[in-house]
Amino acid sequence: MPSKFPSARAGLEGVSGDSTAPVAEKVGVNPEAAEVAGLDALELQPKRDKGRLGKRVWRSTWPKVLAIAIVLLVWQITVWSEWKPIYVLPSPSTVFTDLGNVITTGDFWDGVRVTMTRAFTGFLLAVVIGTIIGALVSQFAPLRAAIGSLITGLQTMPSIMWFPLAILLFQLSESAILFVVVLGAAPSVANGLISGIDYVPRTWLRVGQVLGMRGVAKYRHLILPASLPSFISGLKQGWAFSWRSLMAGELLVIVPGALSIGVRMQQARDLSDSSLVICYIIVVLIIGILIDVLFNAADNALRRRWGLLSS
């Protein structure tokens, strides 16, 4: 009989011959494989290699590296196959040379700075406005009836349709850009909050009521923490919307000097410079991924607190 660790039952599995046994198969699983089992991993995650930082980093890195390697390989093979002329589908090396050239100019980083400043300002504004609207709409039934659906309606509007209004209200200022960004992102934030609030378990609401929570305290201590998961996913969507709106909105006002990412992207397209287009796709992807990593960190911290993830 095996003496150590959970392999004992697995050993017996063949003997029992009961293939419907839901348990035996589960226990025999080794920790690394359990990791792979995804959801089950939430429960079965091995605790032992905590602190072995190197291993942990490696484990979250190799799939990324592999994925990138595969993409590059497929790309290069497509290029070699000469399926399309090289000026339509440039090779990875061309693109990365271009990318290298682009990101080594200070001008590019100025553009990144301009764009990120706008993105963060706009997003923060959208979060504030979206949160307030979401809270109000979920709180007051008539308001919900009045503008609940309008929120999603606004969201489906292409940013470009807001340009005339943005120009009308804010002339050609930075505010016009922010306006477009906020209109793009705030509905997601509001919707995330509303849906989170709608799904706060009844029991918790009742507990809050018994504890005498009301008004701001209720939001601070009950509604917000309880709807945080949905709120965060609303923020994530809001970020995606705000970024997309920004890319369009930046074409509204072009400030000579530092060229924002949106303008550069458009320019690359206008020049039909496919290598440059791919460069900017990569730049935008990387920014998007970096931001997503931030959101995921917040999300994981939350899930750990809530006991949905083994720490």
């Binding site: 918790w204 018994v210 504890l211 201590h221 309880a226 945080l228 006991g307």
Partner: protein, 258 residues
């Protein structure tokens, strides 16, 4: 503490239900959970509620706590502060154990060090010293129930409603908490409405034990418990009266089962 002293305050009706009824749902789906319940609880009284599963005990507490609206009759608690310990622990997963206990204190605006001191006291009372920094999901069922008790006590309410608060505890831990609860009730002159399935527990703790009939819930019996405190749950008096009440309860459930 003499019986006379507790009697003193009993001339002051604090919770009054008159002919209260409660219907859930509507139309063909309607379910009459409580029907014509009349009940008066004096200030400082400890009243235990007994009844079959699903007879409307929790419903009654939620009506008194103002969580649900009554469908008929009159309910009056004179605007007192009510605290309710739910049947399920219902702790907030985003707060630590201490955070959960501190929450009512925060809402009362108690200062941070004061809060912390009080929460630790309460955790001591429910025998969970040292578990303050754990999260609710790291506790056993009985431990969670005790945290919920500590949270309810932290509320400093006039009326304490308790829904099977000791259902998930072993006999010994329960005995300890009976003593603690009795002490707090006496010291703070609380008014307690206590739901349980353990008849001996009811007799051990209550000034009165009220029996509810099965669906729809009605008050069918109101036993005053006059044994002198402190009582012991395994004392012959408690056992004796518990036996009597149990028989009555069995008869009621049997009647309903037919």
């Amino acid at each position: 503490m003499s019986l006379l002293e507790t009697r003193d305050v009993r001339t002051d009706p604090l919770v009054r239900l008159e002919n209260v009824s409660k219907t859930y749902g509507s139309g063909s789906n309607a379910l009459l959970a409580l029907d014509g319940v009349s009940l008066t609880v004096q200030k400082g009284e400890f009243v235990c509620l007994l009844g079959a599963s699903g007879c409307g005990k929790s419903t009654l507490l939620s009506l008194v706590a103002g969580l649900d609206q009554i469908s008929g009759g009159t309910l009056d608690i004179g605007g007192r502060k009510v605290s309710l310990m739910f049947q399920e622990a219902a702790l907030f997963p985003w707060l630590s154990v201490r955070g959960n206990v501190e929450l009512p204190l925060r809402l009362q605006g108690v200062s941070r060090p004061e809060r912390r001191k009080r929460a630790d006291e309460l955790l001591d009372i429910v025998r969970l010293r040292g578990f303050g920094d754990k999260r609710p999901h790291e506790l056993s069922g009985g431990m969670r129930q005790r945290v919920a008790l500590a949270r309810a006590l932290a509320q400093n309410a006039d009326i304490l409603l308790m829904d099977e608060p000791f259902g998930a505890l072993d006999a010994m831990t329960r005995d300890i908490l009976h003593d603690e609860l009795e002490r707090i009730w006496r010291e703070q002159r609380l008014t307690v409405l206590f739901v349980t399935h353990n008849v001996r527990e009811a007799v051990r703790l209550g000034d009165r034990v009220i029996l509810l009939s099965s669906r729809p819930g009605r008050v069918i019996e109101d036993y005053p418990i006059t044994h002198e405190r402190p009582r012991r749950i395994d004392s012959p008096e408690v056992s004796g009266q518990a036996g009597e009440i149990t028989d009555r309860l069995r008869a009621e459930v049997a009647r309903h089962a037919q």
